[in-house]
């Protein structure tokens, strides 16, 4: 079944209008200040919050916003309302209302990450909130309220080897293609406030390098289809590799119909888990060429996104890093060829060398048919005296020039886009359903920002909202190809695991440029033949329900 919503497009698009944003968080009522609980103790946890989610929790067709929040240190307790996680309902007019209390999502503990997904296929998006020494799973009851089902889901028990862990990112994927979303948790390091190492000179203390902390393995939880999960970290091979996980992203990198996993690690090599299809993963980061920077150096990997940048049908990988790392961009060559360093040729390498990036997203912000890059930036807080400059940075946006060049167009992206802050998490969605991707960004100890996309482009767009029947309800992991009259094929897939500690909308979006019609839309549900729709008019959200063969 196919349902069309939205409005038909208009005139042909002029070429290359500048990507522009206006920042409207205060105006829209999205008033949130992330608290990291810092009090001069230089505790490592202070650096990591906080993730943001863009989700439609009440199924009104307008994307809502959830913010994670920190807690007091060292107690790791939310000692007051300023530490509450917060849910904001989109009133469908680009204003938001704080509904945290009625939703029951204020939370407890030191929250860092959020992952949104429909874990029980009931059509309501649920939330997994991860953090320092405690994670929580909230089931969406469909009446505006969420229930904490962590214990019932089997996610509250402590790991016998590592005890409570510190998770920085998480994501939902259907790794075994059984139609139920499984949960991946990217863990960072072993941390104890009482045993925090001290670094820097006594009169000039600073946060320790991650090498001062022991890394942790990641976790994979298989959905038992009854509201509970089984820890398959060890059986799947995921738990056999230690890292210092920061960002996680998913894609079918080799076209075998199975979702693979990339984890960006802080100061140790990246991990690429190739899904073997038998419940097991093989770590292939070294062979694929995505484990380290080109010179063999492990960057401070932060956020990641795993999508097709150059429209060749193969998902590429972008990873943000810290000052003097340069951000990484790996181009997927297909099959055994692995990935090649693409950051230098596209101009991203040198352009990002003086930046520290956290969350990021690969979306087509000007709808020209090429996915651009948005980076949420800030140097480490209190690095100022070392750098001789402010830690706060303005964000950056890079325009994708036909898949071969990434042009920094931040300077032209509007006055609000030039303002520096300690940006961290970022989630991406079209909050006003105008076909242009917006971004919500958290700021450490400062007001969150909502970047409303006001790009003057008249380029056309198409968004696919998937409804799985045999597959998971949201269609996460499903790939979509769009063929255009100008001869181009565009590729994207459904995922909410985007960037750093954050979760973005599940819709599969395409910028169509001057094309008013997508000649063909091909949806590749796992385990079945492609589902195709011909001549789909642009500038609308198309809801596609999975066709199941009898």
């Amino acid at each position: 079944m196919v349902v069309f919503t939205g409005f038909a497009g208009s005139a042909a698009a002029p070429p290359a209008p500048p990507i522009r944003f206006e920042e409207i968080a205060a105006k829209s009522g999205l008033r949130f200040e992330l608290q990291n609980g810092e009090a001069g103790g230089f505790h490592q946890v202070e650096l990591t919050p906080g993730g943001v989610a863009a989700l439609d929790y009440n199924n009104d067709g307008c994307t809502d916003v959830f913010f994670t929040n920190g807690a007091a240190i060292p107690s790791l307790r939310k000692t007051g309302p300023k530490f509450s996680n917060r849910l904001f309902r989109n009133n469908c007019d680009m204003t938001f209302t704080d509904v945290t209390g009625e939703a029951g999502l204020a939370g407890e503990g030191y929250s860092v990450a959020v992952a949104a997904g429909d874990l029980d296929n009931d059509g309501w998006t649920d939330l997994f909130v991860a953090g320092v020494k405690g994670n929580a799973l909230y089931r969406n009851l469909g009446n505006g309220r969420f229930a904490d089902v962590t214990a019932r889901a089997g996610l509250a028990s402590l790991d016998p080897l590592f005890g409570p862990r510190w998770a920085v990112s998480a994501g939902w994927l259907d790794y075994d293609s059984d139609g139920w979303l499984d949960l991946f948790v990217a863990n960072y390091v072993v941390w104890d406030a009482a045993r925090e190492p001290r670094c820097g000179a006594p009169e000039k203390q600073f946060y320790c390098h991650p090498k001062a902390y022991q890394g942790l393995p990641n976790q994979l939880f298989r959905n038992n289809r009854d509201g509970s999960f089984s820890d398959v970290s060890r059986a799947s091979g995921i738990g056999s590799h230690t890292g210092k996980g920061m960002g996680v992203s998913f894609a079918d990198m080799d076209g075998d119909g199975l979702t693979d996993i990339f984890v960006a690690n802080d100061s140790v090599r990246g991990l690429l888990f190739h899904n073997r299809g038998n419940g097991k993963f093989e770590e292939t980061g070294l062979e694929a060429g995505v484990a380290l920077r080109d010179d063999g150096h492990a960057i401070a990997g932060m956020g990641a996104d795993f999508r097709d940048l150059d429209n060749d049908g193969r998902p590429d990988l972008v990873v943000s890093g810290i000052l003097n790392d340069s951000f990484l961009l790996f181009r997927n060559l297909g099959g055994q060829k692995g990935f090649e360093d693409y950051a230098q040729r596209t101009g991203l390498l040198m352009s990002t060398r003086q930046l520290t990036g956290w969350s990021l997203g690969m979306y087509d912000f000007d709808n020209d048919g090429w996915k651009d890059l948005f980076f949420a930036l800030a140097h480490l807080t209190q690095l100022d005296p070392y750098l001789g400059r402010e830690a706060a940075l303005p964000n950056r946006i890079y325009r994708n020039i036909e898949g071969g060049r990434l042009e920094d167009v931040s300077a032209g992206a509007g006055a609000d886009f030039q303002l520096a802050a300690n940006h961290r998490g970022a989630a991406f969605a079209d909050f006003d359903n105008d076909g242009r991707m917006d971004a919500v960004v958290s700021v450490v100890n400062g007001p969150a920002k909502l970047f409303h996309n006001i790009t003057g482009s008249q380029s056309h767009w198409l968004a696919i909202r998937l409804r799985g029947v045999r597959s998971n309800r949201q269609g996460l992991g499903v790939e979509v190809r769009v063929h255009l009259a100008d001869g181009r094929d565009l590729y994207n897939h459904a995922t909410t695991a985007v960037g750093y500690a954050s979760s973005s909308e599940p819709l599969v979006r395409f910028g169509l440029g001057a094309n008013r019609v997508a000649e063909l839309v091909e949806i590749r549900w796992p385990g079945g033949p492609p589902q195709t729709i011909a001549n789909v008019a642009a500038d609308r959200i198309v809801e596609v329900t999975e066709q199941v063969q009898p």
Partner: protein, 277 residues
């Protein structure tokens, strides 16, 4: 820069020269003994001797500078800073102390301080290639690649003027040219470095990286294997193995790539699924 210890080691000789230019100090003999012990890497004995020199003459600049170097070798940058500040109070024109002060800042990622000190060291000793080289590195770190390249070129020019060009001075510029995608220029620099120090693994590693970028994976693999077989240099085995994985794969020899991947994985910390009571 990884070979900074070599740079400050060379400085020991400079200290002797500086000392010889002044009037005799009661601490001179002890200082010379300390310096000789430092060169022999007998650090604790050297420290004892330098403390004796400073007991006899608290303002002996070469001894203060040597004490700073000893502190740096022990990663006590706070103590190094104290010694250097004292040395520069006694003699603000002590170029090597200025250079070392810059090194302390550079190694602590304090680029603003490093730039100031390296610039000052350059003013005081315009023919010292080390100051030009490290000013170049600090300049590159704050995002000024073209200015950094000019300084690298100046460092090389100064070294050539002494008749003792060093491969280590060529390599930072070569790495930057590689990052900038200026592959032909980069190749010229690297080939000079290889010629100057054929047993330096760093030079062969950079050549291998360049060849891989140029689409010559078989030659890159050969250079990489040569690099791995050499012990002199600072490039890690991990970095070389990672390069060789990609080079052999692109050369159509995945079995050889797998050997290097296995070595790398063997060096990583496995997760032991045993509960320690």
């Amino acid at each position: 820069m990884r070979n900074w210890k070599r740079s400050i080691g060379i400085g020991a000789l400079a200290g002797v020269i500086l000392c010889a230019a002044g009037p005799p100090s009661p601490g001179q003999h002890s200082y010379e003994k300390a310096n000789a012990l430092f060169v022999e890497k007998k650090f604790s004995e050297s420290l004892a001797a330098v403390e004796e020199a400073l007991r006899l003459d608290a303002n002996l600049v070469p001894a203060l500078t040597l004490k700073a170097k000893l502190a740096m070798a022990a990663n006590r940058y706070d103590l190094a800073r104290q010694s250097l500040e004292r040395a520069l109070t006694v003699d603000p024109t002590a170029s090597y102390a200025q250079f070392l002060y810059g090194m302390v800042a550079y190694l602590n990622n304090e680029m603003t301080g490093a730039l100031i000190r390296f610039r000052k060291a350059r003013e005081l000793a315009p023919r010292d290639p080390r100051a030009a080289l490290y000013l170049g590195l600090a300049t590159e770190s704050v995002g000024q690649p073209e200015e950094a390249l000019l300084l690298y070129k100046e460092a090389i020019r100064l070294e050539r003027a002494t008749g003792q060009p060093q491969a280590e001075t060529l390599l930072p510029g070569a790495r930057l040219l590689l990052l900038l995608g200026r592959l032909d220029e980069c190749e010229g620099w690297i080939r000079q470095a290889v010629k100057l120090s054929p047993n330096l693994r760093d030079a062969h590693f950079e050549l291998a990286r360049l060849l891989l970028k140029k689409g010559e994976p078989a030659q890159a693999a050969a250079e990489g294997e040569l690099s791995l077989s050499l012990s002199e240099g600072t490039v890690t085995d991990t970095a070389i193995h990672y390069l060789l994985i990609r080079a052999w794969q692109q050369a159509g020899m995945p079995d050889r790539a797998a050997v290097h991947a296995a070595v790398m994985r063997a060096g990583e910390n496995p997760v032991i699924h045993t509960v320690v009571k």
